[in-house]
């Protein structure tokens, strides 16, 4: 499976964010998108996820399932956690597992894998920021999709959480998955760097 972009141009609110961007990622590979604030890291992820439209250029996926679009084969982990405070941890995860579509795995096991199995019945409102992030990460385990689009995934996570997530990411890559992550900090895995907007 190969995800590639050619000459991608992004315009938001009439302002050009970046143009002429090329990138590529294959199965088992991770790309770390770096750059200053406002350079367009989040915009690039949202372009790949189909949440933003490109002003120019193309993004293609080779080797995926033919009947599905790119967004339908990708997980998007954004800044916001997509959690409903009124529902319990288990209810939140089960909803996404049932709704997103794709290979579904046991919710309780996914929660255990991120260290939330003690909080299954708790309303999500009682979770700390780090725990909320873990619940979002559990979503990536409960529904298997080959492409992971991660926006600052380890923000709000403590050191233990970060190394846990690094392990999960490595597992995903070894299963043939593909990761594109926007990040300020090192991810803890071997990743190619894609720099947007200015030099270090």
């Amino acid at each position: 499976m190969r995800l590639s972009g050619r000459g991608v141009r992004c315009v938001r609110s009439g302002r050009e964010v970046f143009s002429g961007l090329d990138f590529e990622a294959s199965s088992g590979e991770a790309v770390a998108v770096t750059g200053p604030n406002g350079a367009g890291k989040t915009s690039l992820l949202r372009l790949i996820a189909g949440l933003l439209t490109m002003a120019d250029g193309s993004i293609d996926l080779e080797g995926g399932e033919a009947e599905l679009t790119l967004p339908e084969q990708a997980h998007y982990l954004g800044h916001r956690d997509a959690l409903k405070p009124a529902l319990s941890v288990m209810e939140n995860l089960c909803f996404w597992r049932n709704f997103l579509g794709g290979a579904a795995f046991d919710a309780a096991e996914s929660l255990a894998a991120v260290g939330l199995d003690h909080a299954l019945r708790l309303p999500a409102a009682y979770l700390s920021a780090g725990q909320r992030r873990r619940l979002s990460i559990a979503r990536l385990l409960a529904v298997r999709r080959p492409i992971w689009l991660l926006d600052e995934p380890t923000s709000a996570l403590d050191a233990a959480g970060q190394s846990l997530f690094a392990t999960l990411m490595n597992d995903h890559l070894s299963r043939g998955g593909l990761i594109v992550a926007a990040t300020h900090t090192p991810l803890g895995l071997a990743a190619r760097e894609l720099r947007i907007g200015g030099t270090a």
Partner: protein, 222 residues
Amino acid sequence: MTALAALIRRDIQIALRVGGGALIGVLFFLTVVVLMPFAIGPDLALLTRLGPAILWLGALLASLLTLDRLFMADHEDGSLDLIVMSRTPLELTCAAKALAHWLAAGLPLVVATPILGLLLNLDATSTAAVALTLLAGTPALTFTGMIGAALAVTLHRGGLLLAVLVLPLSIPVLIFGVAASQAAITGPLSFGTPFSILCALSLVSFVIGPFAAAASLRHGLD
């Protein structure tokens, strides 16, 4: 559980658990109906004559007020992004959300109608007629209102704008809902004709609403 069933279940769960649940809409409905006699006067004959209209207006306003949260909550917590990326077509998702909203907010209004009919001195047949027209017409209000909710999703304080956009589109439903009720109560006109038109309006809204709302959501995500 299928994707759409999961969505309907979740939305109803949230609606029932948050902010007073279904009862707050009914409470507003009650409040509006109670306000009317203060404005009109306690003349029972007049209230009976105006009864269907008052009930319909109350139901219209009550369903309008709850509509602006329909997509806003999902937009604010990032759920909308994931919903767009799911394997369910967005049009069906919108229809499912509207259905859940109607079950949690619209149906309770219909159930509350008999009690409110008492306040307005309506007899059993009249109340039944109004309740039936509300049952057929409130889905149209929800599905049409969904378009305004989708257009206004990214606007903070879009509630008033939503009302302004949706109310002209709701006028046909109001006209035929009250006409059907009046026909059943006093009618030289048969109940069937305006009632079938009311049902037709609902059916049309089941199609236009989800498509327009889905298009608005897609275009509004940027």
